[in-house]
């Protein structure tokens, strides 16, 4: 019984204005690039590669923001242009693709797609709804809390893959608009992911490329502020939507009458799924010292679960089932990432991102406090516009240089890395393309008939992101920089 | 395999391979056991092959034979991008109805005479197979074939038989025609799209003609249909098969662009994966023109869903498994043995490669076989100090053996199984042994022709 939710009226002029604003921001970056770019006589058609890459990059983002085309097509075509114009070779383009992220995404999508067959997520939905006595705001708050906690220990993408289908079932049953729920979960997933090394890709990158930052450091230094930010994010959500949310007593009674135990369709599959999920979690938690990266863990876990799920079937059935689960993977999201990674590799290759980061450092004049604050805000704003993984990967060697140049001890350098982590993770909340989890939620919402508009999300999420960064700034200042 | 490993141990000169892995075991032993187990499971067909390959690949990393970085470096993304791109392009193009049009057109062109239809449908299958993958081609041609044989009330087996053979023979002609060629084309830097056309396409028509002769002797000369039945086929309106003329034009435009990219892209630094993926994205955009965003997203999602992801991930797992045995030094060892037994003679090696790969491909899937053979042959070429021109004969032997060998049995190639599956559901079961009895001698005939061609042009 799908709820018929009227789509919010779209304000075309506002969209055009915001798109032209974003375009003018990119244009000023391009001018900066044009000023600093070294002359390269061997460039294609005699054009500076930095300018060319910048134009492809800007066009790609303008088309993604404008939402005129499917974003996977846009990103792939822009990535193809990066190779076609000679900015990158195919080898360099492939090297720019983060296959660890892709493998992790595909593997977890497969595991979730098999696990959901057991009915455990429907069980969770019914359980959570009844636990909150089927009150919409109670369910929203409870699901946000669960999302944040799970995000800290699973990656954000996995968490939202677990929670969003559950949420859509509940909002459908209650006949309430799913957007505030999905919005709250996107924010909670990025905030929760900030708390641990494995919570968010920027943290994984920092944890593995900075020798003196370990798993426990993230818990000690980042988990406290993540809890505060989560609490304060719920306030505007309550003001915007929560206080007006209602469900009819009949709808609530229907939800309360559901028997969550009946939701479990296949107890044996549930056990197999829980076994594999536990293995995969253990692999994420303890695999790193053994050289096991998330993509290996997730894809091997997925293949194992598919084999366990297939036991006792005929070969033809086995092949059909495996084919079906691979079909459930969000391939358009995966290929959006592929294209985006290539586009970012293109601008990175021409030195444009580095130029941007250096410019921030120059402006701060070598003052450590200023640099930390600049890193926090720069990464926050950048992560809201571009994917934070390539950005953080570029920032890490630059910050290593800064730490060396300033002669800082590991302990003194810590705040710089926390600035990067907080900025990049929380900054992901700034727009719909700010973090992987956002895109995954948008993809799922789209497939279930509740598309999330880029600009609608931006209008709500960007101010809340700024609020969280202001809080992080205060925290960094009080704890480290005073 | 295991006793072979125990006797020979780790060869000297494998500097960067870990000699010991998890639990202090010998790396080569672990890699060899995983490799052998993986092959056994694939041949035994107890599990889905993508699962088997992915788990074996995962175990290569878990046991420490490879780290994830090395595993990813072992995956040939050029092959994957090319496969995915072409699958997307075909899945959009077929919506236009052009393939049904071609099949009906050729039936009417043959004036609905059974033998003429068989020959023309076979030719259409061969030409399409050269440009699309074989499985897609037979999936497009076989259903229409069954409609026609049904109308003509002739047994469909000779038609399906010819289409299976012609799809594998036609696929031999180009880089994109068959997975073994895609693998060779993307993992041997000095072999490009045009080389396949220059070196393999000439022999393909000869093999096609030589295959038609026994088919005519066995079935063709006895085929007949009543005038009424032939009239029913002539009444088919092939123009009605074209569902979307605009899409047809867009598809042909993108297909032409992509073929031009394959042919002339290499000097510009354009690899097949870039060409195919960009072409696919372009066709998806063109196909979406005039739709609203939600419909666009649905259409793109739909077409990505049509990609054979289990095949793609079978490749992913297999590449990692092969990277594992390569890293552990096992493939170097095999290359040394090949050199040792052949006495370093190129003609002997190429001949052995041709016949071994054809017989192996008739029994097992040719994809894992070719994926394993490529690094072995690279090592052989390197150790013999062959120039690129001298090495060509060996690569063509591998391509011809692996592609044509797929005709040797019903399980020799994916396209064979797809046809058999479809025929069975339509109530025309193809028996394994019947097919073997007809196809194996014809496969041997084609390999003999290939052998003569290689000898005359490269080895003599």
């Amino acid at each position: 019984m799908p709820a018929i939710v009227p789509r919010p009226p779209t304000d075309c002029n506002a969209e055009r204005n915001a798109a032209s604003l974003a375009a003018s921001a990119v244009t000023s970056l391009l001018l900066l690039a044009a000023q600093h770019a070294p002359a390269d006589p061997g460039a294609p058609f005699g054009i500076q590669p930095m300018l060319l890459a910048g134009v492809v990059f800007a066009a790609c983002y303008a088309l993604i923001i404008g939402e005129w085309f499917n974003r996977a097509n846009v990103a792939l075509l822009a990535g193809g242009l990066m190779v076609l114009t000679g900015i990158l070779t195919q080898e360099e383009a492939v090297a720019g693709i983060d296959f660890n992220t892709l493998g992790l995404l595909i593997g977890m999508m497969l595991i979730v797609s098999v696990t959901r067959e057991s009915g455990v997520f429907q069980f969770l939905a019914v359980w959570a709804a009844k636990r909150a006595k089927a009150r919409p705001w109670g369910i929203l708050a409870l699901l946000m809390l669960v999302t944040a906690v799970l995000s800290a220990f699973l990656d954000n993408v996995t968490t939202v893959l677990l929670i969003v289908p559950v949420t859509l079932v509940v909002t459908d049953e209650l006949h309430v608009e799913p957007y505030p729920f999905l919005f709250g979960e996107i924010l909670a997933s990025n905030i929760g992911g900030t708390a641990t090394l494995i919570g968010d890709p920027p943290n994984i990158l920092i944890g593995s490329q900075v020798d003196y930052v370990h798993f426990s450091d993230f818990l000690v230094h980042l988990a406290p502020i993540a809890a505060v930010v989560l609490g304060l994010t719920m306030l505007p959500i309550w003001l915007l939507w929560g206080r007006r949310m209602t469900a009819s007593p009949e709808a609530r009674a229907r939800v309360m009458a559901f028997d969550e135990k009946e939701a479990i369709r296949d107890v044996r599959l549930l056990k197999k799924s829980c076994f594999v999920l536990a293995l995969v979690l253990a692999g994420f938690l303890f695999g790193h010292p053994m050289g096991l990266e998330p993509a290996t863990v997730a894809l091997s876990g997925a293949a194992l679960l598919l084999v366990l799920n297939n036991l006792g079937k005929s070969l033809e059935e086995k092949n059909d089932v495996v084919h079906e689960h691979y079909g459930h993977v969000e391939w358009t999201t995966i290929f959006f990432f592929v294209g985006l990674f290539v586009v970012v590799a293109g601008v990175e290759h021409t030195g444009m991102l580095e130029l941007f980061a250096h410019w921030i450092l120059d402006v701060s004049g070598g003052d450590f406090h200023a640099i930390s604050v600049a890193v926090l805000w720069t990464s926050a704003l950048a992560s809201a516009v571009v994917d934070n993984i390539p950005f953080v990967a570029t920032m890490i060697p630059i910050l290593h240089e800064v730490v060396d140049g300033l002669g800082l001890s590991p302990a003194d350098a810590m705040p710089l890395w926390w600035s990067l982590s907080l900025g990049a993770c929380l900054g992901g909340n700034g727009s719909l393309i700010g973090a992987s989890a956002n895109l995954i939620v948008a993809g799922q919402a789209e497939r279930s008939g509740h598309p999330i508009r880029f600009l609608t999300f931006l209008r709500h999420a960007f101010p809340m992101m700024l609020l969280s960064i202001a809080l992080a700034n205060v925290y960094l200042w009080l704890r480290y920089l005073l | 395999m295991i006793s072979f490993l125990l006797q020979h141990g780790v060869p000297a000169g494998v500097a960067d391979a870990p000699s010991q892995v998890m639990f202090g075991l010998d790396a080569m032993l672990v890699a060899g056991v995983l490799f052998a187990a993986c092959y056994l499971m694939i041949i035994g067909e107890w599990f889905n092959r993508a699962n088997v390959a992915l788990i074996a690949g995962g175990l290569m990393i878990l046991t420490g034979v490879l780290n994830q970085h090395q595993a990813i470096a072992g995956i040939d993304f050029n092959t994957l991008g090319l496969l995915i791109g072409m699958m997307l392009i075909v899945s959009v193009t077929r919506e236009s109805g052009v393939f049904q049009y071609l099949a009906i057109w050729s039936a009417k062109r043959a004036r609905a005479k059974p033998w003429g239809i068989l020959v023309l449908l076979g030719m259409v299958t061969a030409v399409l197979s050269a440009m699309l993958d074989n499985v897609t081609t037979v999936l497009l041609i076989v259903p229409v074939t069954l409609v026609i044989t049904d109308e003509l009330e002739v047994p469909p087996y000779p038609f399906l038989f010819a289409e299976i053979l012609f799809s594998n023979i036609g696929g031999t002609a180009t880089l994109i025609g068959d997975p073994p060629n895609i693998l060779i084309g993307s993992q041997v830097e000095y072999i490009h799209f045009a080389d396949f056309i220059l070196h393999l396409a000439p022999i393909v028509p000869v093999i096609l003609a030589a295959t038609l002769l026994p088919i005519w002797l066995l079935w063709g000369r006895k085929m007949s249909a009543t005038p009424e039945a032939m009239e029913r086929v002539m009444a088919f309106d092939e123009k009605e098969a074209i569902r979307d003329v605009t899409l047809l034009k867009k598809s042909l435009f993108v297909l032409a662009l992509v073929l031009v990219g394959f042919l002339f892209g290499h000097p510009l630094g354009l690899e097949p994966a870039t060409v195919a993926m960009t072409g696919a994205a372009l066709l998806l955009v063109l196909n979406n023109l005039g739709k609203d965003l939600e419909k666009k997203n649905d259409a793109v999602h739909h077409f990505y869903g049509h990609v054979e992801w289990t095949t793609i991930f079978f490749f992913v797992g297999l590449f990692v498994v092969v990277a594992g045995v390569e890293q552990a030094g096992l493939l170097d060892l095999i290359a040394e043995k090949v050199l040792h037994f052949s006495g370093g003679d190129v003609t002997t090696i190429a001949t052995a490669v041709l016949w071994v790969s054809s017989v192996a491909s008739a029994i097992v899937d040719n994809i894992p076989f070719v994926a394993t053979m490529i690094p072995v042959l690279h090592k052989v070429v390197e150790d013999l100090g062959l120039s690129q021109g001298d090495a060509l004969g060996m690569w063509w032997a591998l391509a011809l053996g692996a592609c044509l060998g797929g005709n040797g049995s019903l399980i020799g190639a994916s396209a064979n199984l797809i046809v058999a599956g479809y025929a069975e559901r339509a109530g025309h079961r193809i028996k394994f042994l019947t097919f073997l009895k007809h196809a194996f001698p014809m496969m041997i005939l084609s390999i003999v022709i290939a052998h003569a061609y290689l000898w005359l042009r490269y080895l003599g």
Partner: protein, 150 residues
């Protein structure tokens, strides 16, 4: 409400060795949408439906492709041709052409699940015993629709 309370008990069944001709004649005579195929102990082994009958009279290309209404406009067959195709299956045992992957319910299954199943299938829903798989009843549209409306 359970399936047992709305089902038609002890339905007529076809034996697996019945010919297609005999089964089709029974369907037409009784105006059934489908008939369960069961062995001599009334254990369910499949279902033969009007949907299968149409599939047998069409080329497989038409019955397998969900978009074939649009895609097979080139086909010139008339009703006589369809009849000829169906008649080629006339003497086959029904067990060769029936659907074997059949959705079933049990007598104590909640009725809402039968409604979901009827929405997704092309045949009347067999009600079978939990142990032994014997068919004890059948549920059609007309067993549930009046109860939803009322």
């Amino acid at each position: 409400m359970t399936c047992a309370s709305v089902m038609t008990p002890d339905p007529e069944v076809a034996a697996p060795d019945w010919t297609v001709e005999r089964t089709v004649e029974l369907l037409l005579e009784r105006r059934y949408r489908s008939i369960p195929v069961a062995d001599s102990d009334r254990r369910l082994i499949g279902v033969f439906s009007i949907h299968r009958l149409l599939a047998l009279s069409l080329p497989m290309l038409a019955s397998e492709d969900p978009e074939s209404v649009d895609r097979l406009r080139w086909l010139s067959d008339d009703l006589e041709d369809l009849r000829a195709k169906l008649h080629r299956h006339w003497n086959r045992p029904v067990s060769e052409v029936m659907e074997t992957d059949v959705v079933t319910v049990e007598p104590d299954t909640p009725l809402v699940r039968a409604v979901i199943a009827l929405y997704h299938t092309h045949y009347n829903l067999p009600v079978v015993q939990a142990d032994g798989g014997r068919i004890v009843g059948i549920i059609s549209y007309w067993d549930v629709v009046p109860r939803i409306l009322r």
